[in-house]
């Protein structure tokens, strides 16, 4: 049903209500439609008046819907009135009403009221991140930076993830401001991006650039660029950080892989203790390897070809520079069949070390172990994104380590005109980074377009003259 364009008298509402199919939900449906069509607020008021007069009361859900309409149209005084009425009628409010009130008031000149409401919400539950977002934006819009940062730290302490909008707002509203404390806070935000491997989008990147360039007396200059494969920035010739982990991180990651991925809740789920021990002994005898290959994964690269030939090509291609190879496979590869020719398998075993796991074991876990055991120089080959193994890791810090290590050590292969093209592992680490007088910030071209496995190729280079 269409909401009317002008306020109606009681009888007219009554008539409309009678003509509606299910009169008991008439008001609710009408309000929903008013919100959708953004009807004039007077129409809603006239309906409320009609309801109040005929029932002597307005139900809570209708009040909330009216509130939503007021917020949508920025009617601050009405929002205040509704809040007063709700406060009188109900001892506490629920999150839906609070969300609307905070959103509505933070966009008005009564934004301080939104802060007090936030305090009220805290008493009964943890506020949502959008609650914080509204308040932080309101505070920074009115140059109350201390309040804004306080709220920001508070939400981080509550494990809420700030939206990129909030972070961008900090850079936008601090443009041209002076103060060492403030600079430290904003650098802190950039380091937050680094630690959580978040990439800003284009408009956010622009805000960062403008902020840097606006620092009074800072002499910062920003350039958009893309980094060479060698990891050198073409603008300032600075060499980016490599993706190597520190000794401690490396050991930590290795232990966690053994504990969470290979053993997990039950060693028997992915392998068996005997098999894992045998594999460990095998690796201890022959490591370090230079490249570890997931045999089954590689053998499926070209579906028209025999699987063992695919693998043979890959081993040949990688074996060139005296590299020590380890190929992981399953026992069924040893059984002579149309896909796995015994002669070819024999020939390959002269060029590389092979380990065959049980047919029902997971070879990926072995792949990770062997690569990590061999040391930092060792790379591995698979097209698998290893997401399920990453998911086995129990905390996000280790998952980030895993991702970083994976970016630096995974070689994936593409088929191009029946020749293997090696896609090399990245030599540099793709995160926000600084040396004090330079900052390098990777960014995404648009807001949503990015696959989680793809790292951005575009960078913002900022240097101090």
């Amino acid at each position: 049903i269409e909401p009317p364009e002008k306020p109606l008298q009681a009888e007219e509402w009554n008539r409309l209500r009678e003509s509606f199919g299910s009169p008991e939900i008439f008001e609710e449906v009408m309000f929903n439609n008013m919100i959708r069509c953004n009807s004039p607020i007077d129409v809603a008021k006239s309906l409320l008046t009609h309801v109040a007069k005929s029932n002597g009361d307005v139900a809570y859900n209708l009040l909330v819907k009216y509130l939503a309409l007021c917020v949508q149209q920025g009617q601050t005084s009405e929002i205040r009135d509704v809040y007063d009425i709700m406060k009188i009628r109900f001892r506490i409010l629920e999150s839906g009403a609070y969300n609307l009130l905070i959103r509505g008031l933070s966009n008005s000149d009564q934004w301080r009221m939104a802060l007090t409401l936030l305090e009220e919400v805290k008493k009964i539950m943890i506020p949502s991140r959008t609650n914080y977002e509204s308040c932080i934006k309101a505070a920074s819009c009115h140059q109350e930076m201390n309040v804004a940062f306080e709220l920001y730290h508070e939400m981080l302490a509550k494990d809420l993830v700030p939206t990129l909008d909030v972070l961008q707002a900090f850079f936008d509203f601090n443009r041209g401001m002076k103060g060492a404390e403030l600079q430290k806070e904003l650098f802190g935000i950039l380091l937050y991006l680094r630690e959580n491997q978040i990439y800003p989008h284009k408009t956010f990147m622009r805000s960062i650039k403008l902020w840097f360039e606006s620092i009074p007396g800072g002499n910062w200059r920003g350039h958009l660029t893309s980094i060479k494969d060698s990891g050198q920035c073409p603008v300032c010739n600075h060499q980016l950080e490599d993706s190597d982990l520190t000794e401690e991180e490396y050991n930590n990651l290795r232990e966690r892989i053994i504990r969470d991925v290979i053993h997990g809740t039950d060693t028997f789920r992915k392998t068996s203790p005997q098999e894992f021990e045998a594999f460990q002994a095998f690796v201890e005898n022959r490591f370090p390897f230079d490249i570890v290959i997931d045999g089954l994964n590689v053998s499926h690269i070209k579906p028209r070809k025999r699987q063992c030939e695919n693998l043979f090509d890959a081993v040949n291609c990688l074996a060139k520079e005296n590299a020590r190879l380890l190929v992981l496979g399953r026992k069924h590869m040893l059984v002579n069949s149309s896909n796995w020719k015994r002669e070819i398998m024999k020939e390959m075993q002269n060029k590389a070390d092979f380990f065959f796991a049980e047919n029902i074991s997971e070879d990926d876990a072995f792949l990770l172990y062997a690569t990590l055991r061999s040391g930092k120089h060792c790379k591995f080959v698979t097209r698998d994104f290893l997401r399920d193994h990453k998911a086995c890791l129990s905390d996000s810090a280790t998952r980030h380590l895993f991702r970083k290590w994976q970016r630096g050590h995974q070689i994936s292969k593409k088929m191009f005109l029946s020749v293997f093209i090696q896609q090399p592992a990245l030599r540099y680490d793709c995160v926000v980074q600084t040396t004090g007088d330079t900052w390098h910030i990777p960014y995404k071209d648009t807001f949503e377009e990015k696959y989680s496995y793809r790292v951005p190729r575009k960078w913002l280079c900022i240097q101090q003259k």
Partner: protein, 412 residues
């Protein structure tokens, strides 16, 4: 008749009392939410002629006018609330806002609600309670209607004789079933339920598991040639055990099954055991009457692959999976079936050895049909399904399907 009346009275009393208690409590907590009486000034408003100009803010006056009446009450009411009461209050507000929240919630449920780790967990739990309440209400309404109808017919016909006949019939059947199951406990083929998955499941999953086992036990009891059911690895104070007692009450001690806290490997020779798991690489070809099949008593809503396979691997047991792929054109859903479906399938296999009859118990939504049908017929129904489901994209889907299907055929 008299006894029926007494029963009726009992039901009425027991159902009214808690309701009244709850109602009273709510009144205490929400002195403000009760409907207001119309104040005299409003009545004046109503008497004015409709042609007069509308007062758009009149509703505010109405809403605020209640204030004067009730202010004294609120001041006295306002004292520190306990956590539970505060949570109850929030729930009430959510209900007023139109979210799916149960009307009545017990102390215990409220505690579970507060222990939920996240907002979404809380929401889910409330929705579950809400739906449960709706079902219960509907059932009760239907029961009441039925009872009314029965009372009407009872007054017309002499019912007592037919009733006693029904009773006799039911108890006779019970005896016959028990006799059969007792026979099977001596001569029947064992079927093992492995009760060692408690720590892999949430509380609700354990409850679901027990429910499914109760259903399976029921269908086993009513079958022609029942299994001798073993519950192995069942510890005395485990969650499973508590749930079983909740379901069976006193009957738990009289069930004609074997319950033990021992492992099946201690009870039976290892080479006779076969662990049934969907993750098994081996596919079951025929039902073997000399083997002892093990079913893992586990509901895994989050599909934890390989848990039961790991159990079997650890103990070095043979494993097997149902040949679902071979006989059915799989559509959607996981290959793991509920325990009562497994029971039906195994019972049918034992009696007939007919895979088609047995796999009738696989839910229809999970597959398109049996592979044995002529292919063109299958395609026709599939086309129809896709047109209904997907509309325009049918051509594309059909091609995709045909490709997959032909690949499947060549693999076999």
């Amino acid at each position: 008749m008299q006894s029926a009346n007494v029963l009726l009275k009992k039901i009425v009393r027991s159902s009214v009392l808690p309701f009244a208690a709850q109602h009273g409590m709510k009144k205490d907590l929400f002195p403000l939410s009760r409907a207001l009486s119309l104040s005299p000034c409003l009545k004046q408003d109503n008497s004015r002629s409709p042609s007069e100009k509308l007062d758009l803010d009149a509703w505010k006056k109405v809403m605020k006018s209640g204030l004067q009446e009730e202010v004294s009450e609120t001041v006295s009411e306002r004292k520190e609330l306990s956590d539970l009461a505060a949570a109850r209050e929030i729930l009430e507000m959510w209900r007023l806002a139109g979210r799916s929240v149960p009307e009545n919630i017990s102390e215990e449920q409220l505690k579970t609600f507060m222990d939920c780790p996240s907002k979404s967990a809380k929401k889910k739990y409330l929705k579950y309670l809400h739906l449960k309440e709706l079902y219960k209400k509907n059932d009760k309404r239907k029961m009441d209607e039925k009872r009314e109808r029965r009372l009407e017919t009872a007054s017309k016909t002499d019912e007592t004789r037919s009733k006693s006949f029904v009773c006799l019939w039911a108890s006779c059947m019970d005896k016959a079933y028990s006799w059969r199951v007792a026979q099977s406990m001596i001569f029947g083929q064992p079927l093992v339920f492995d009760m060692s998955y408690e720590k892999d499941m949430s509380v609700r999953e354990v409850a679901n598991t027990v429910r499914q086992i109760v259903l399976s036990e029921g269908s086993n009891r009513r079958s022609l040639d029942p299994f001798h059911i073993h519950f192995c690895n069942l510890k005395d104070d485990s969650l499973y055990h508590k749930e079983f007692i909740k379901h069976y009450k006193e009957a738990w001690g009289k069930l004609l099954i074997t319950v033990t806290d021992q492992c099946y490997t201690d009870v039976f020779p290892k080479d006779k055991l076969i662990y049934l798991t969907a993750d098994s690489p081996k596919v079951m070809k025929t039902f073997d009457h000399d083997k002892i099949y093990i079913v893992g008593s586990m509901v895994d809503k989050s599909i934890k692959t390989g848990i039961s396979l790991a159990r079997a691997k650890r103990l070095g047991l043979e494993t097997a999976a149902l040949p679902l792929e071979k006989y059915l054109l799989w559509n959607a859903g996981a290959k793991n079936l509920t325990l009562d479906q497994m029971m039906h399938i195994l019972l049918t296999l034992k009696d007939t050895g007919d895979w088609k009859a047995a796999l009738e118990f696989v839910p229809k939504r999970k597959h398109y049909g049996f592979v044995s049908k002529p292919v063109h017929e299958l395609k026709k129904t599939l086309n129809l399904i896709n047109t209904l489901k997907l509309g325009k994209r049918q051509e594309e889907v059909r091609k995709q399907f045909a490709k997959n299907y032909s690949r499947k055929l060549t693999q076999k």
